[in-house]
């Protein structure tokens, strides 16, 4: 293949990053999402996956991705460099919660009851899977390693549920949206866990791009495809699999609460 042709292909390809924020283990979902985005944008869409939030965020910040479905925490961290493309709408709102979960049958009603546990986090850059719990402890002037006996990162909200359900961890911090979707798709797994505490409503993990690229053709195509997803049969099928209502334009202030939590944790010097 000639260098010119390669360059043309590279221009035409649209790279879309995915974090383990949602159920990335579903191949059918990925195939359908890719097919929808490719058709809707008229470009060859590549879905880029990495194990950690940090890797995807780094790719996005370095300009290797046209857009990425990241978490509210990285968005808050890099708010100056990043811009919102769209925010998913779940149960009618662009909001979700973080859950503190424990094995079924455990008597615990607040984070205080989880002291001394082996605690499972999702990712150190996850809002619901780390920041929310860390900020709760920060309010008590505590870092997670001071409150819990041991913390483990599972790099996936589903893995947090697995760790708690199997007894590997005595408690865990998980994305409330993922836990709810799992409870309808894998009820036998979530049934082994129970919710100890629920956070306030927070901005749903958004689709973001480099602020400098917000008005580029590729980002605009992505924006249009996401916003119109609920009006398209194939798009609705993908939304249905994700248990989402659609994507919407939301103000960046939606993530102020997360930014505040971040500041709280940083203030403790974690």
């Amino acid at each position: 293949m000639s260098r010119t042709a390669t360059a043309a292909n590279a221009l035409s390809a649209l790279n879309f990053g995915l974090t383990p924020v949602f159920l990335t283990n579903d191949l059918e979902l990925l195939t359908r999402l890719k097919a929808y985005l490719s058709r809707k944008t008229g470009r060859d869409v590549q879905l880029i996956q990495r194990r950690t939030y940090e890797e995807i965020t780094a790719l996005l910040l370095s300009g290797q991705l046209d857009g990425a479905w990241i978490c509210g925490y990285p968005f808050a961290q890099f708010r100056q460099q990043l811009s919102l493309i769209a925010v998913p709408v779940w149960r009618g709102k662009p909001l979700y919660q973080s859950y503190l979960i424990a094995p079924k049958g455990r008597v615990a009603t607040s984070i205080e009851d989880l002291k001394g546990d082996i605690h499972a986090f999702s990712d150190p850059n996850s809002n619901s899977g780390y920041l929310v719990t860390a900020s709760l402890l920060a309010e008590r002037k505590l870092r997670p390693d001071q409150f819990f006996r041991q913390t483990i990162f599972t790099y996936g909200h589903r893995n947090v549920v697995r760790a708690v359900a199997s007894g590997l961890a005595q408690s865990g911090s998980v994305d409330g949206y993922v836990w709810e979707v799992m409870s309808s798709l894998e009820p036998e797994l979530t049934a082994k866990t129970e919710i100890v505490a629920v956070s306030e409503l927070l901005g749903f993990p958004p689709v973001a791009c480099l602020r400098t690229q917000r008005l580029s053709e590729a980002v605009e195509l992505l924006h249009k495809a996401l916003i119109e997803m609920s009006e398209d049969d194939e798009g609705r099928h993908v939304l249905n699999m994700l248990k989402l209502d659609g994507f919407a334009d939301e103000p960046e202030t939606l993530f102020d609460t997360i930014a505040a939590k971040m500041m709280l944790v940083r203030g403790l010097g974690s």
């Binding site: 082996i118 041991q150 893995n159 007894g167 590997l168």
Partner: protein, 489 residues
């Protein structure tokens, strides 16, 4: 014989072939199947252990390769995730649980975190089953395999994998194989024993046919084996049956000839008897004719007349007695009747001419006083033949003894001569039960055969009491008929 003693029944040499051969087949099958079962199980055990070793090694190889980086980093989740996923990949091993410890011996993660929590030390009882240096330890009593693999990293041990696998399925498979083998072998042995029994029964059929014919022959009835049966046999038995038929034919012909000879002997005996009688009548006749001549010439003389009449009367009386006893012996319409003293005494008259001819001294003792419940005619015939035979055997001027009596209710008659004794084969012939169905050899004449046959008919017994160069005594013993015994009882 139905009355075989119990000891001989216990002796396997005396068991019938139709039982011994299937038993031998069954014993052989049992032995072979026991050896095969033993070998199969030993091989199966070897294979299973080898298979388990390979499977365990593959499991530990796969795990350690994935686990070493995670154990090195102390990444609890990665260790757990690896163990959790390996469950699906190594289903064949049926692992109950796996523990991964770090260099300090603390549990990093286990496949069953509820049982073996992370950041704790595994209980000593759990680890007691594992031995350093032995990767796989089998404990069949607990149906468990214990797996141990150290995790090396740059020549240092950074942790260990402990696993416990359920080998119940392997043991079950082994016991299933054992059961199947036993059942199959038992069934095969049973079927082969039956087949062996039937085969031997079939093979023995010609022997049974032969045995049946020989039994019949021993009872005096020699039947040929029909050609249709002979032709159905294998070559060996066809030849045997053929030879038997040739032999039977020869025996039948011999018996026919013997009967003919007996008839001739009868005629000859009759001739001898007639000649004896003629001689016996002729002797007084000479005297009687002389008396008649004297009467004719000197009948007027009182003394001559009286002497002549006495001589005539004496001669006629002798003739009358002779005729009477002959009639008694050879009456055509003889019916079975009991023996009396007279029946035996009459014989004296019949033998007398022969005794006289050889100038033999006839010593006659008859102790029979009342009728004996034995058939008169055959006894008389038998005793007459014994007496004639004794006369024939004795040298001239010798003596022949007759002694009849009752002993223990049975008629006993001894006839003794002063001959040269009986040859051994004749003695054996006379004393053997049922021998009367076959005639004696030609040289010995037919007299003794007739005696033996008559004796057999009466269920009597002949005993050679004495047989030496100085003479022979033959005893005839005839038991009274059964009715008599019952009456006596």
């Amino acid at each position: 014989m139905s009355g075989a003693n119990p000891v001989s029944r216990l002796n396997p040499m005396t068991w019938p072939l139709s039982f011994k051969v299937p038993l031998l087949v069954a014993v052989l099958m049992f032995t072979v199947s026991a050896i095969i079962t033993n070998r199969v199980l030993a091989r199966l055990e070897e294979n299973q252990e080898q298979h388990l070793q390979q499977l365990a090694s593959a499991y530990l190889d796969g795990l350690s390769a994935s686990l070493i980086p995670s154990v090195f980093r102390g990444d609890v989740w990665e260790v757990f995730d690896t163990l959790d996923r390996s469950r699906e990949r190594y289903r064949g091993l049926n692992v109950r649980w796996t523990i991964v410890t770090n260099a300090e011996g603390k549990i990093l993660a286990a496949s069953d975190p509820a049982k073996f929590p992370s950041d704790t030390v595994a209980e000593k009882e759990v680890l007691a089953h594992f031995t350093a240096g032995r990767e796989v330890i089998l404990n069949e009593d607990k149906a468990t395999a214990f797996l141990l693999r150290p995790l090396p990293y740059q020549d240092r041990e950074i942790g260990k994998i402990y696993a416990e696998a359920d080998i119940g399925a392997l043991l079950q498979e082994r016991s299933d194989v054992l059961r199947t083998l036993l059942l199959t072998n038992l069934l095969l042995t049973f079927v082969l024993a039956i087949v062996g029994y039937l085969a031997v029964l079939r093979m023995m059929r010609p022997v049974r046919i032969m045995s049946l014919h020989l039994d019949q022959a021993s009872q005096g009835k020699i039947n040929l084996i029909p050609d249709s049966i002979v032709m159905r046999q294998s070559s060996e038995f066809r030849r045997l049956f053929g030879r038997y038929n040739v032999l039977s034919q020869a025996v039948n012909e011999r018996e026919f000839l013997a009967v003919q000879l007996a008839e001739e002997e009868k005629v000859a005996s009759l001739g001898r008897l007639a000649s004896g009688m003629a001689h016996e009548i002729n002797n007084p006749l000479g005297g009687m004719f002389n008396a008649l001549d004297a009467l004719k010439k000197h009948g007027t003389r009182e003394q001559v007349r009286a002497t002549s009449i006495r001589l005539l009367e004496h001669g006629l009386t002798g003739i009358r007695d002779l005729v009477r006893s002959t009639l008694a012996s050879y009456r055509a319409d003889q019916r079975p009747r009991d023996l009396t003293m007279v029946d035996l005494d009459d014989l004296r008259l019949l033998v007398k001419p022969e005794a006289k001819r050889k100038r033999l001294n006839l010593e006659w003792t008859n102790e029979i006083t009342e009728a004996v419940h034995v058939p008169a005619v055959p006894v008389r015939d038998a005793v007459l033949n014994l007496l004639l035979n004794a006369c024939a055997s004795s040298a001239e001027d010798g003596s022949v003894k007759f002694h009849a009596r009752i002993e223990s209710g049975a008629l006993v008659v001894d006839v003794s001569d002063q001959g040269g004794g009986l040859p051994a084969h004749i003695r054996e012939y006379l004393e053997r039960n049922g021998a009367g169905s076959v005639p004696l050899d030609k040289r010995s004449g037919l007299g003794l055969w007739i005696v033996k046959r008559l004796c057999d008919e009466m269920n009597g017994k002949l005993i050679v009491v004495k047989s030496s160069a100085s003479g022979t005594t033959i005893r005839l013993v005839v038991q009274p008929k059964l009715a008599e015994l019952e009456d006596a009882a």
